[in-house]
């Protein structure tokens, strides 16, 4: 059994209650941080742990905290990104629903490191049942002297707020999130400046994913060395993977980074193999935005090495033969899956969720969806396939925020690896599945 950092106590009944959480050693990491560490020492621990952002980009967390402008007279903020809306990714909701105090403890530790006096959990509105749980937990933390003035008798004070969004995927992009948190339309900001310099209310701000923050208490309790002892290469610690699709055991798993993909898919400890003994066809390994890979390339790299669940190994081969860790949404497709239809579903999502600010994404996403609709509906032409590739190429890299790339990569990679299937749709003038 892999080390469990995030899900260790997840099955303990009543864990959402602060007393149960405390009974299992909860909030002792906070106490340790406040008593034994200066804020900079906490940052240093996080740096040494090798923890990387779990929201998608995998940016080293300690380094991100280091960018915060501590010279500025302005207040600083820590914001937790709980917008989780990527198709295939459903890991964060689990933490808030079942172990909210772990998130809150992490928020306090992170805020202490950054010197924030206020912190926010920005949560997608559809998770209304989780919002209730988190709000209750925040109240409990206040009552127990863990939030508010002079936390645990120290001279550190913090207010923590839970702010529901209105349910837009784009508000997961960190600058759109900040706009939305400020009460504005959730359009991504043009960067630079980055949030570490100009963030919430124009103040220095760090935005971190739920899972990133939830790992902090363990790192403080057990030390950075223990955390970085888990994993492989520059992929340290554990990662939540939400696995779905044609597998026997869909669900949320905490893996040690470096686990072979093959083991993850086929072992009984994890996905338990493909349903009905079917053949694995393709995997989208990190949420709908990352390139799709056919079975041969997800199990082994182009060089014939076993592919591992790590940032480096999944990315090996670049766009041609690799993919990305992304946010850990692991979508498995068996041989009965129509790649074109699946892509159309993704394309529809991105068209619907584009904020519409910049022309390549606004127009490109809807154009791609319309073409895919025709191909899947049996009215496509061979030219359409190349046109799709061409549109994706002109969306990618030309937009304000990475949603444009996220919409382009699935199209480009599906055609790269499964072109025959698109051609078959055109030749037959219908979907062969």
């Amino acid at each position: 059994m892999a080390t469990q950092i995030l899900l260790k106590n997840i099955d303990v009944p009543g864990l959402t209650d602060i007393h149960v959480y405390k009974g299992l050693g909860g909030y002792s990491a906070l106490e340790k941080a406040l008593k034994n560490f200066t804020p900079d020492q906490v940052t240093e621990e996080v740096k040494k742990s090798g923890l990387r952002g779990r929201g998608g980009a995998g940016f080293p967390t300690g380094m991100k905290w280091g960018f915060i402008d501590k010279q500025s007279e302005k207040p600083r903020y820590l914001v937790c990104n709980y917008d989780e809306s990527e198709p295939g990714t459903f890991k964060d909701r689990y933490i808030g629903e079942l172990n909210p105090h772990q998130l809150i403890e992490g928020m306090i530790i992170g805020s202490y490191a950054l010197g924030a006096k206020s912190a926010y959990i920005y949560i997608r509105g559809e998770l209304f049942y989780v919002i209730k749980i988190i709000e209750k937990a925040i109240q409990e933390a206040y009552k127990n002297g863990l939030l508010g003035n002079n936390i645990l008798g120290s001279d550190y004070s913090l207010d923590l707020y839970c702010h529901p969004g209105a349910g837009a995927y784009i508000c997961g992009e960190e600058t759109a999130l900040l706009e939305s948190l400020e009460g504005k339309r959730g359009n991504p900001r043009i960067k630079p400046p980055f949030p570490a310099i100009v963030g919430l209310y124009d103040c220095p701000t760090v935005v971190n994913n739920v899972e990133t923050i939830a790992a902090l208490p363990w790192i403080i309790t057990n030390g950075s060395a223990a955390y970085s002892a888990i994993g492989i290469g520059n992929s340290k610690g554990t990662k939540l993977i939400s696995a779905c699709g044609h597998i026997n055991k869909p669900g949320i798993y905490e893996i040690e980074l470096g686990l072979p993909v093959e083991e993850f898919i086929y072992s009984d400890e994890y996905c338990g193999g493909i349903i009905n003994g079917n053949k694995l066809k393709a995997v989208v390994a990190g949420g709908s935005s990352v390139p799709i890979l056919p079975a041969e390339l997800i199990l082994k790299t182009a060089a014939g090495e076993p592919r591992l669940m790590s940032y480096e190994s999944l990315a090996e081969g670049g766009f041609k033969t690799g993919t990305m860790m992304g946010s850990g949404g692991f979508i498995v497709m068996d041989h009965t899956t129509c790649i074109v239809k699946n892509l159309l579903t993704f394309a529809r999502f991105y068209r619907h969720e584009s904020c519409g600010q910049c022309s390549p994404c606004r127009e490109g996403t809807s154009w791609m969806e319309k073409i895919l609709m025709r191909i899947e509906g049996g009215q496509g032409t061979m030219k359409d396939i190349d046109l799709l590739v061409n549109i994706a190429k002109h969306v990618e890299g030309n937009t304000i925020c990475p949603l444009g790339d996220a919409a382009a990569w699935p199209v480009a990679s599906a055609i790269l690896h499964f072109r025959e299937e698109f051609e078959e749709h055109v030749k037959l003038q219908k979907c062969p599945f």
Partner: protein, 307 residues
């Protein structure tokens, strides 16, 4: 403060720190200036959206000579000392500009023959230079019904390129913000939400900042093609604005009043609705003389000194 040296399409210039690539290029003028469909120097926070002004930065600065990994929006990227920028000299930037032009056109109704903006439309200019000869799309375009926003302004959402300029005018120039963007993505629209009248002293400037024919002047609608009119600089004593305008005359008849636009199509000054909509008698105005018209396509065809 020491000046920063920047090279754009092999032209070297020195500019103050804090200048964008776009504005550095505008200091030189000519073909090195990237087209701007959303940036508007008089509107704070404008730019970055349409992506027509993307350029390649071949060298980031003297200190860090690496090229920038992606094309950048010249209207929102600041010049660094020793920066080398390629606009028309970068095949990559030109290729993407062609693509962006196509993106802006795939949902555009191409109803220029019945559009009041024709002849002074930036999208027409852009397509003329960067458009493809044939359309590659067979998809249906998105359609909205034209609506009146207030009694003076007509919104043809079909023609809108979502540059956000009019939203910024509403935010920054008028005293009560009453319109914005509703919805997301290709289904987003400029709206007053409940079609509440846009009614305040400076709202008419939305018409002038709109690069296309999405916002047009109801008091001028279908009266004339712009190239059949003669523009004159004129002024009046106005308590609300400078009173400096352009009168658009057809023969003896005053058909339209607009603000004065510079060679980048930007208003020199915002004018009030009184001047724009309510003074349509030549006798209301002191005429200064014919307006010098520059590149703005067909209008300059007939007459007058060129800028």
């Amino acid at each position: 403060m020491p000046l920063l040296k920047v090279t754009i399409d092999n032209v070297e210039i020195e500019v103050e720190a804090g200048t964008t690539i776009m504005n550095a290029a505008r200091q030189v003028g000519g073909h090195i200036v990237p087209p701007a469909m959303c940036y508007y120097s008089k509107l704070e926070g404008s730019g970055g959206k349409c992506r027509t002004c993307l350029v390649r930065v071949a060298q980031g600065s003297a200190k860090d000579p690496r090229p920038m990994p992606k094309l950048v929006a010249s209207c929102r990227t600041l010049v660094q000392d020793g920066m080398v920028v390629e606009n028309t000299t970068s095949p990559e930037a030109m290729d993407s500009r062609q693509a962006i032009t196509e993106f802006l056109l795939i949902n555009h109704p191409l109803d220029c023959p019945v559009c009041d903006q024709a002849g002074e439309c930036h999208l027409q200019d852009l397509s003329y230079v960067h458009g493809l000869e044939e359309t590659r799309t067979v998809e249906e375009r998105r359609v909205f019904k034209p609506i009146d926003i207030g009694d003076k302004i007509k919104l043809h959402m079909n023609r809108c390129i979502l540059c956000y300029r009019c939203v910024m005018v509403a935010d920054q120039i008028t005293d009560k913000r009453v319109h914005g963007v509703l919805g997301r993505g290709d289904h987003s629209e400029i709206s007053t939400h409940i079609q509440q009248a846009v009614d305040n002293d400076f709202s008419g400037n939305m018409i002038d900042v709109c690069p296309v024919g999405a916002l047009t002047d109801n008091t001028f609608r279908f009266k004339s093609r712009v190239w059949f009119m003669k523009p004159f600089d004129a002024n009046r004593n106005c308590t609300k604005c400078s009173g400096k305008v352009v009168l658009w005359m057809k023969g003896e008849e005053l058909l339209r009043v607009t603000g004065r636009k510079d060679k980048y199509g930007e208003l020199e000054e915002f004018i009030c609705n009184d001047c724009r909509f309510d003074h349509k008698m030549v006798t209301d105005w002191t005429i200064e003389g014919p307006r010098a018209i520059e590149r703005h396509s067909v209008i300059s065809q007939n007459h007058y000194g060129k800028q």
